[in-house]
């Protein structure tokens, strides 16, 4: 690769650094746009349930209730009425932001015996006992799940693509640290309005100040993908087709058995809840999973709430559903390796994080997206400058990268805004509503990629950022026009989920407006200023 600034180095050292710089450049570029998508949608995921709630404005305020006796009585009554003869009843208790409403799930119910559906998943109003009906939406969960499922892709492809992206990201981080010669000395250095130099500074600053977060998120991402990435380790122990067995052994509660076919009354839940309270303390039950209710082989699995510890794994108690005997007590981590895995995954998901901490996660994610974006821009700015200096035409590869940069760095945020717009504008009764919210997002992204391909470069940046500014800043207005819960109302009522969402998109709108203004300014002549800093930190990072 071009290394115009490397001449000051000693040959051997420059050789190593140059190789690393080459690796950094190309590992970063090849999957950079995908990484930007992963960062953007994953960052939104830190507020997944809050976005869920914004996207279902019909639902009442959260019904947090830590008294498992009370909640389980209401839910069990619903299950008895709606799902007789089911293979599984699941009661999810509303104990924190992750589960703001009580929820029931069942499968294998007997519609002949009066079940309303073979399987269903419902929110239950704890005050009235009725089903809570919100509009059909993918919510924050769908947005968040995109960051590793890639939405339209089958799991067998997306797992591999995400694994590679994560690995490339990790390579990018390590090589980035190696080629950045002055991490401490240049820690506070940002020189604006100096063309390429400013982009490098911005890229350095964003990377360095979020470095611990980046390493944590990428390393834990690798752990997440480990089972698909290193399948042979599992295959060696469990056989080539043994992945199902492996998952069962590692993640399923122990001691579950088949149905016996002999009816037997289900034991009341109260003593089991008390027993769980003696194990973990009061009010720490997240879910109660009943297998084969009404059968003599019934089992009740009570899961612990692990939200206040970093480790993502939770303890589980397995009871005999007829006699109430405690059969198994699975600790939160079944082995040291599992414990380490749980901590990293817990850190990645940030489920333990209280509000302020959650905002810091969100900020780190946004800055991470900024890091990827600035990296992509540097690649193009640098080559654009070389092309200009040679007075030649820009090579096709450069044009492609420039257009993808606009259509992704500015276009994807607009597409995510379109996801929220679709939530409010699609008819509430529309049958495939949730799917179309996502289609609206990806169609918008496609449209903006086309726009980026057709428009001149600087205009495309300005227009798309301006569109992003408008799309985000107008969301509170859209919300005010389509629901009762506008910003004034939510602020007055202390409804921080709605107020927080509206204020955040407003802030994003302002940020994009600023970006549009910056993109519209006359560009400083980068070619003339860059040589004033020969051989500086990342000048040779190409």
């Amino acid at each position: 690769m071009t290394t115009q600034n490397a001449s000051a180095e000693t040959p051997v050292k420059a050789g190593f650094r140059q190789t690393m710089a080459w690796l950094h450049t190309w590992a970063g570029l090849t999957l950079g746009w995908l990484l930007f998508f992963i960062f953007a949608t994953g960052t939104a995921g830190y507020f997944d349930t809050e976005i869920d709630r914004w996207m279902q404005p019909e639902l009442p305020p959260a019904q947090i209730e830590r008294d498992a006796h009370k909640t389980s009585a209401v839910l069990l009554e619903q299950l008895r009425a709606n799902a007789p003869g089911a293979d599984q009843w699941l009661l999810a208790l509303p104990i924190d932001r992750r589960q703001p409403y009580a929820r029931i799930f069942w499968r294998g119910a007997d519609t002949g015996a009066g079940a309303s559906a073979e399987r269903d998943n419902r929110l239950v109003d704890l005050h009235s006992g009725k089903t809570l009906e919100g509009r059909d939406t993918g919510g924050g969960l769908q947005l968040y799940r995109m960051h590793w499922l890639l939405h339209y892709m089958s799991r067998s492809y997306s797992d591999w693509i995400i694994s590679f992206a994560t690995l490339f990201m990790f390579v990018g981080l390590v090589t980035g640290v190696i080629i950045h010669k002055k991490i401490f000395k240049d820690f506070f250095t940002f020189r604006p309005k100096k063309g390429q130099r400013s982009w490098l500074d911005a890229h350095n600053v964003l990377s360095v100040i979020t470095l611990p977060f980046q390493f944590m998120i990428t390393y834990s991402g690798l752990i997440f993908m480990g089972f698909s990435f290193i399948p042979l380790i599992v295959a060696g122990q469990y056989g080539a087709d043994g992945r199902g067995d492996f998952y069962n052994e590692v993640f399923s509660p122990p001691g579950l058995v088949e149905e016996a076919g002999e009816p037997a009354p289900l034991i009341p839940l109260a003593p089991l809840i008390d027993e769980a309270g003696r194990h973990w303390g009061e009010g720490r039950i997240r879910s109660i999973d009943i297998r084969h209710p009404g059968d003599s082989n019934a089992r009740v699995v009570i899961s612990e709430d692990a939200a206040d510890s970093v480790a993502a794994g939770a303890g589980r108690l397995v009871f005999d559903g007829v006699s109430g005997a405690l059969l198994h007590s699975a600790p939160s981590a079944s082995s040291p390796a599992m414990g380490v895995r749980d901590v990293f995954i817990g850190l990645h998901e940030g489920l333990f994080a209280p509000p302020l901490m959650r905002w810091l996660y969100f900020l780190s994610g946004l800055l991470g997206a900024g890091m990827v974006a600035t990296g992509l821009v540097i690649w193009a700015v640098k080559r654009r400058q070389q092309a200009d200096r040679k007075n030649g035409r820009a090579p096709r590869g450069l044009l492609l990268v420039e257009k993808l940069n606009v259509g992704t760095v500015a276009g994807l945020p607009v597409a995510i805004a379109a996801y929220f717009w679709a939530n409010r504008l699609l008819p509430v009764a529309m049958p495939t509503r949730a799917a179309w919210e996502a289609h609206a997002m990806f169609l918008t992204w496609l449209a903006l990629l086309v726009h980026a391909a057709l428009r001149p470069r600087t205009r495309a940046w300005r227009e798309q950022f301006a569109l992003a500014a408008l799309a985000y800043a107008a969301i509170p207005l859209l919300n005010a026009l389509t629901t009762e819960r506008h910003l004034g109302q939510s602020l007055a009522a202390g409804d921080w989920v709605f107020a927080g969402f509206d204020l955040t998109v407003l802030a994003l709108g302002i940020l994009f407006g600023w970006a549009a203004w910056l993109a519209g300014r006359k560009q400083p002549a980068a070619g003339r200023t860059a040589p004033a800093y020969p051989g500086t930190a990342l000048g040779d990072a190409s």
């Binding site: 820690f187 506070f188 940002f190 020189r191 604006p192 600053v205 360095v208 100040i209 979020t210 611990p212 977060f213 944590m216 206040d308 510890s309 970093v310 480790a311 901590v343 817990g346 850190l347 940030g350 333990f352 994080a353 209280p354 509000p355 302020l356 901490m357 810091l360 996660y361 900020l363 780190s364 800055l367």
Partner: protein, 119 residues
Amino acid sequence: MTAVPLLAQCLLSLAAFSCLCLATPRNARQLSHPRWRAPLYWGGWLLLGTAAITAVTTGGWGPGLAALFGALTLAAFIVIGLATYRPGGLVHLLVAGMIGGAWLLGKLLLSAAAPDFPY
């Protein structure tokens, strides 16, 4: 879980990075005096250490460190922004961060010494 420890870490990190930024040669020439460089430098690291100790003692190694890194990211972002566009504000930030951080730290220490202290 209360937000006081994390807020304290944010304020201490802001003060710490302000110190370290003011201790850089360029800022020391323009904003303070070269003879302040060493005290600012060591003061900055001392404040960072205090933030780290606060993090680990209140949150443990896992969530504590995660919180600390979050606070450091936020503080570095603000300080770099200020140093770039309003370098004069660094001194104010330093003072504000110190006072706020010390106040919250005192609050934490008091509540640790006397858990029933009415807050």
